[in-house]
């Protein structure tokens, strides 16, 4: 095997420009696949972290009628917590949230929003709800930066909020923006108003009602589901993000597979040409005592070595590049906001060993297969004809 390696290496280096073209393309593909998949992995990691920190924490109990995708469900999806769940609130291992639809009138325009009533003094989700704690002010309201900029809200602004109470009657209350928070989670920012839960309960007459109960991260004993309350774990709550990033990953991968296919075509072509041009050499190797299968191996190895060289070359210029990106991050703010992926504003790609090894493995495997297919022909080659420079 060592001999074949050496000979294959010499041959491939001896082939000059053609080899380096193949190597360049393949190395580019390595870097592209690893680079971009790392971006997606970073996106996923960041998205999961942001959503976990700011929104999901250790998971949530949902009222059975609550459906985040159906705002109309919010009118009826609330109830009193069970005693067990209420205990969690008291021991501060869970924070209740009441969610209602409402209308605001920024600059005289009518706008539908969601009101999230939350207990101000909590440290379960990492958003500055304690800003809402100053209750002697008029109704304190917290919004996110996106909400603020789309509606031109400043801290200190007053706004009229209209919402239905428990009997379905409209009520209008005046609120004052006490805090504009910066969060990467778009879900809790765009179109959302945060107010103290106690106030929301008072306004709507929904005493002790809750829509969603978010529990602390790392709790061991999570109460079981009841008729009214069902627990949604992190995986469930993150499924949209995970699904989205995964689908992006796949569509990205498909593009690179097309590129890889083209590169493989080039390697294939190189192999076919090499075997045709070097049939006399093949005959000579057989005359010198190599078996035909050894020669097949040799040529396969030669082709596969394109993949090895490409990995080395790719590592040479890809590693510093990737290292730099992973370290300094990439500013995706504008793109991210446009696509509603606030959590990736500053994106830090994640390059795992699995990603690198997996990519190298796939490229190596396909390059080897593509090198083997034309080399197989040597196994049935007539050495006497090959020596004459003929192909049988």
């Amino acid at each position: 095997m060592k001999l074949e390696f050496k000979l294959a290496y010499k041959n491939i280096i001896g082939a000059g420009l053609r080899t380096w073209l193949n190597v360049a393309i393949l190395s580019f593909i390595y870097v592209l696949i690893i680079g971009s998949q790392g971006i997606y992995d970073g996106m996923m990691k960041q998205g999961v972290r942001v959503e976990t920190d700011d929104r999901i924490a250790g998971g949530q109990f949902w009222h059975k009628d609550y459906d985040p995708n159906d705002p109309f469900s919010y009118d009826d999806s609330h109830a009193e917590l069970t005693a067990k769940l209420q205990d969690m609130v008291i021991s501060e291992t869970a924070v209740p949230m009441l969610i209602k639809r409402a209308t605001i009138y920024p600059d005289g325009r009518m706008k539908s929003v969601l009101i999230r009533g939350i207990k101000p003094m909590q440290d379960i989700v990492k958003i500055p709800t304690n800003s809402l704690g100053n209750t002697h002010k008029k109704l304190p309201v917290m919004i996110g930066t996106r909400m603020a900029s789309t509606n031109n809200f400043q801290e200190g602004d007053y706004l009229t909020i209209r919402l239905r109470d428990i009997d379905g009657t409209f009520d209008a209350v005046e609120g004052r923006i006490v805090k504009i928070m910066s969060t990467r989670s778009v879900t809790i920012d765009k179109g959302q108003l945060w107010i103290p839960i106690q106030k929301l309960r008072e306004i709507t007459g929904m005493k002790n009602e809750t829509t969603v109960l978010t529990i602390k991260t790392g709790l061991e004993n999570i109460p079981g589901d009841t008729e009214t309350w069902s627990f949604k774990d992190r995986d469930y709550l993150l499924r949209d993000i995970i699904k989205m990033v995964k689908s992006k990953k796949v569509s990205g991968l498909i593009m690179y597979m097309v590129l890889l296919f083209l590169a493989l075509l080039a390697v294939f072509d190189t192999q076919v040409l090499a075997i045709f041009k070097r049939r006399k050499e093949i005959g000579t190797l057989i005359a010198l005592g190599m078996t035909r299968s050894q020669v097949v191996k040799l040529f396969t190895l030669e082709g596969a070595m394109h993949g090895v060289l490409a990995a080395l070359v790719g590592a040479l210029y890809g590693t510093p590049l990737i290292y730099l990106f992973a370290k300094t991050g990439m500013d995706f703010t504008e793109v991210a906001e446009a696509y509603g992926m606030g959590y990736i504003a500053m994106l830090y790609p994640v390059y795992s060993a699995g990603l690198v090894i997996g990519t190298v493995f796939i490229v190596m495997l396909t390059v080897t297969v593509v090198s083997f297919i034309p080399s197989r022909k040597i196994a049935t080659l007539d050495p006497t004809k090959a020596l004459k420079g003929k192909v049988s």
Binding site: L3, L7, T284, L288, R292, Q294, P383
Partner: protein
Amino acid sequence: MALIELKDMYKKFPMGKNEFTALKEINLEFEKGEFAGLVGPSGSGKTTMLNILGSLDTPSEGSARVLDNNIGDLSGKAAAQLRKKHMGFIFQTYNLLPVYTVYENIEFPLLILKMSREERKKKVADALDWVGLTDKKKSRPAQLSGGESQRVAVARAIVKRPDLVLADEPTANLDDENAYNVLEMMVKLNEELNTTFIFATHDHKVIKYLKRKINLIDGKITEDMADLPGVKG
């Protein structure tokens, strides 16, 4: 026992619907240390015969025993083994490996024999010395003249001290001076190492050196003449 023994050997090639008989009724023996040649016009079957002796091809009928191996019965692997251990080939067009240096080309047969590094070093140095190319050992085939290339090929063929060297028109691409040069070298090797050489040629320069001439015409042996009495097929 003879080194090579051909008995009622025929070689036929398919040609369209028919067959073409390239070798007919070949009965021939070669002993160790011979310096013999198959002589005949183009198309007479010289290369065909050499290919069979070299286990690159098989007889269609009859038998070919080479170094105690029945060529017709050898598997591909066994034939490769036979060539690797016991045979050296010299071709009209040198057939050096283009990406290897002179040194590496000569070393190659030893590498595939998995010989140790020290042994290889010594044998390659000896071979380089025999063919007088020690100062060119780092050159690549493309940088060599035809004569030099063929000397490298000779060195490659004899470096492992094979029992049998098969040379197909080794001088056809060489000018007179180089041809004599290479031939003298082969005679020397034959005499000093007792290596058996079998040529296929129609070159008079080669024929002059042969100690035994086997004339082939249309695939048949027409004459078998040895210089020395007692060495006759």
